[in-house]
Amino acid sequence: MPEAPLRKILEVFQGRKGALIAILQRVQEEYGYLPQEALAEIAASLKLPASHVFSVATFYARFYLKRRGDHVVRVCQGTACHVRGARNIMETAEHRLGIKTGETTEDYRYSLERVACMGSCALAPIMMVDDTMHVHMTTKRVTEIFADAKNEGKKES
């Protein structure tokens, strides 16, 4: 973990009240996740117990303590998506990528996550790949989107 960016972030937030969550967000933007060394350093700099920083980092769903894939796939599991078949979308994505929800492929190409709701319920079901939103998803389109993914669906021909 290169330390310079972290130092810089900590400097920016120096002395600001209640900045812990904002710091964690910035650090995650920088490194893609929250490395353990970073958490320790943030705690030291804010003069907080490491346990406190860890508790905040683990409380919120949008903080990640492990390195994630280059592409983050988010399948919405909101109510509207649920009744329109989000589970099928999720399972097809799992199958295609060869990983379970919450995991990252071995080559760090993809991470697969569930989100509670993306607020585009009118277009359910929804899947997001990085910043691109795919709406009215079908299992067929999941297969197409990940056509080049590692697990090629193991066609037995």
Binding site: G18, Y60, A116
Partner: protein, 632 residues
């Protein structure tokens, strides 16, 4: 445009002058193309359509008085991308980049309508030219969404042109803080976040509380799955939220405001940031607003993903950079002891967006919109198995039937209606015989649901109610903050029982245990989350008990949803061995070959039903069975 003539904003009266100036120069820009760039339309390709218009207009070099602008969410997300074109404001649906040359040539040059892109009434086949003719809009009364879709959310001048900041000007020049509070009290405005607490009273207690500093927090942490009205307001009309906050700040005596937005709404965060910067530039935020000596600043705090942060004390903790734990009971009201221990008004986005029109048009006008005790309008996010999905704003007291069948157009594919879920994980499922209930805080609570923030999910006969209860409890047990034992463990146990029932391991006394647990969790939790999460279970047992019993005793799911209780079969005598399902199966569970009837390998099948959807109706070779038949 002649910037040197543009009035500078120094006093409240200048807002009016600027509006008149902007309106006066408007006629040269009336031939607009407004492309909806809300999250929904962007996802359907709205941005590309806007770019295509720019390109095409430049290429065809037709006229110079055409302006392409982006608008906020029009709420009819189902039909996106939406473009409203020309002098006559023709409403085009599902516009693709390929349609753009035709629209430019036909509508903008020849003044004709491109029929095929108009909205078509599925019932009559009639096409509607204007927004106002479409039943989806015709039956709505838009107050909170008044500007959404009509103004460019990234341009403060557009907001001012549409009467923006008039209410603030009036407040700062004519009204005392006490008058503002009494107007809001008199209007009967209640919190739109779900609980329905009278907004005026909240403001009053913060005003009367003592503190060195006071705060206004706008709750934009729309965490309820199935709700997206706050997102659309923040994206489509961010200035109205700011204006509401500034007025609240003036009334309460606060000089600092915080907008807490969930991280899943990047576009809302962007538009709010732009809005804050533009308002600050015009002197509508910052020190000495409009020369009246009133200071107010607003900053955005980005949420980090926790449903419980919708609860007021938890949200305050989160703004302070801590875990979002609701404070233990007995706890002081946030309006007296809130952020950093100071008096804090915490209002929902929709509530704040109601404030400017109330100040401008008066308490009586607002009150007249709704019913006794439920003033004004409410925005609902209509989704699920309904024909017209999107944002719907209706006067309080409108019936559920009117919303779902009148505005929503009824159930998709003309299936039978089963239930409507309001209020997200804290709400309940309402069956058909209660559809004539008026939408009011009290009536929904009596039916076992809540108003909630405004999610309204329509479910047809293909929805399993036990599965829905399981879905919500899964959500609840994930989102429980863990402080209260009964919420932490009780929701977990309820989820496990529901999981067992839906997976064929239901026991005869499960329903009794669920009811006992639901009561205990409700009583033994300190915050709104724990107190209301049993609602989806209680209401489904209350209205759909027979479905629970079928699952438990017959291992049957009538909606054919619960995977462990169903199986897909290929009827050999009907199978034409066309390979369609074999190719479509995402897990390659279909065995067979050309000229060889297909069969499903049950050990591989994930029961997604893809095979059934691709099997041509004339073959109709795939069936789904449940209960005794499935176990054969």
């Amino acid at each position: 445009m002649a910037p040197r003539n543009k009035p500078e904003i120094k006093t409240p009266e200048d807002i009016n002058r600027l509006r008149e100036f902007l309106r006066a120069e408007e006629p040269t820009y009336v031939n607009t193309v407004a492309v909806c760039c809300g999250t929904g339309c962007l996802a359907s390709g709205g941005h590309d359509v806007k770019e295509a218009f720019n390109r095409e207009i430049a290429e065809q070099a037709v006229r110079e008085d055409i302006v392409v602008k982006k608008s906020g969410c029009r709420g009819f997300c189902e039909c996106g991308p939406i473009a409203v074109v020309g002098l006559d404001n023709i409403f085009y649906c599902r516009v693709t980049t390929d349609d753009v040359p035709e629209i430019v040539a036909e509508t903008l040059i020849n003044g004709k309508t491109v029929e095929r892109l108009l909205w078509e009434d599925p019932a009559t086949g009639d096409r509607c030219v204007h927004e106002a003719d479409i039943p989806f809009y015709k039956r709505q009364g838009r107050l909170v969404l008044r500007n959404c879709g009509h103004i460019d959310p990234t341009n403060i001048e557009d907001y001012i042109r549409f009467d923006g900041y008039q209410a603030l000007a009036k407040t700062l020049s004519d009204l005392s803080p006490e008058t503002v509070i009494s107007t809001i009290k008199e209007s009967g405005l209640r919190g739109r976040g779900g609980a329905g607490f009278p907004t005026g009273r909240k403001w009053e207690s913060s005003r009367n509380a003592s503190g060195d500093e006071k705060y206004i927090i706008c709750n934009g942490d729309e965490g309820d799955p199935g709700a997206f009205m706050d997102r659309s307001v923040m994206e489509g009309d961010p200035q109205s939220v700011l204006e509401g906050m500034i007025i609240a700040g003036y009334a309460v005596g606060a000089h600092k405001g915080v907008i807490y937005v969930r991280a899943e709404y990047p576009l809302a965060i962007r538009h709010l940031s732009t809005a804050i910067a533009q308002a600050t530039d015009l002197g509508l935020l910052g020190p000495n607003i409009l020369g009246t000596g009133f200071d107010f600043e607003i900053k955005i705090v980005k949420g980090a993903g926790a449903f419980v942060c919708g609860e007021s004390t938890a949200l305050v903790m989160s703004v302070e950079g801590k875990r979002g734990f609701p404070k233990p009971l007995p706890r002081p009201n946030t309006s007296i002891v809130g952020l950093w221990g100071m008096p804090t008004v915490l209002n929902n986005v929709e509530t704040l967006a109601c404030v400017p029109p109330i100040i401008q048009k008066g308490a009586k006008w607002f009150k007249a919109l709704g019913t006794e005790g439920n003033a004004g309008t409410k925005v609902f996010a209509l989704s699920g198995h309904v024909k017209n999905t999107g944002l719907v704003e209706v006067p309080m007291g409108t019936t559920l039937r009117e919303i779902i069948f009148g505005i929503g157009g009824g159930v998709r594919q003309d299936r039978a209606f089963k239930a409507v879920q309001t209020g997200g994980p804290s709400g309940g499922c309402i069956p058909e015989h209660l559809l004539d209930l008026p939408v009011e805080y009290e009536s929904l609570a009596k039916a076992g649901s809540i108003m909630g923030s405004g999610g309204m999910l329509v479910m047809d006969e293909s929805t399993c109610m036990v599965n829905m209860a399981r879905y919500f409890l899964d959500f609840a047990q994930n989102e429980s903050c863990g402080q209260c034992t009964l919420c932490r463990l009780g929701t977990r146990q309820m989820f496990e029982i529901l999981k067992d029932i839906t997976e064929g391991r239901g026991r005869p006394d499960d329903i009794t245990v669920l009811l006992e647990l639901a009561e205990a969790v409700g009583k033994g939790s300190i915050c709104g989350l724990g107190q209301t999460v049993p609602n989806p279970v209680l209401s489904t047992i209350r209205y759909f008990r027979e479905e629970y019993e079928e699952h438990i005793h017959e291992k049957r799911c009538r909606a054919l949803v619960c995977r462990e209780l169903i199986s897909y079969r290929i009827k050999e005598y009907r199978c034409k061995a066309c390979m369609l399902c074999l190719k479509a199966c995402p897990v390659n569970a279909v065995i067979g070959a050309k000229w060889q009837a297909h069969e499903i390998d049950q050990s591989k099948c994930i029961k997604c039903g893809t095979c059934m959807t691709v099997c041509p109706p004339k073959f109709n070779a795939i069936e789904c069975v449940s209960g005794v038949e499935a176990s054969k």
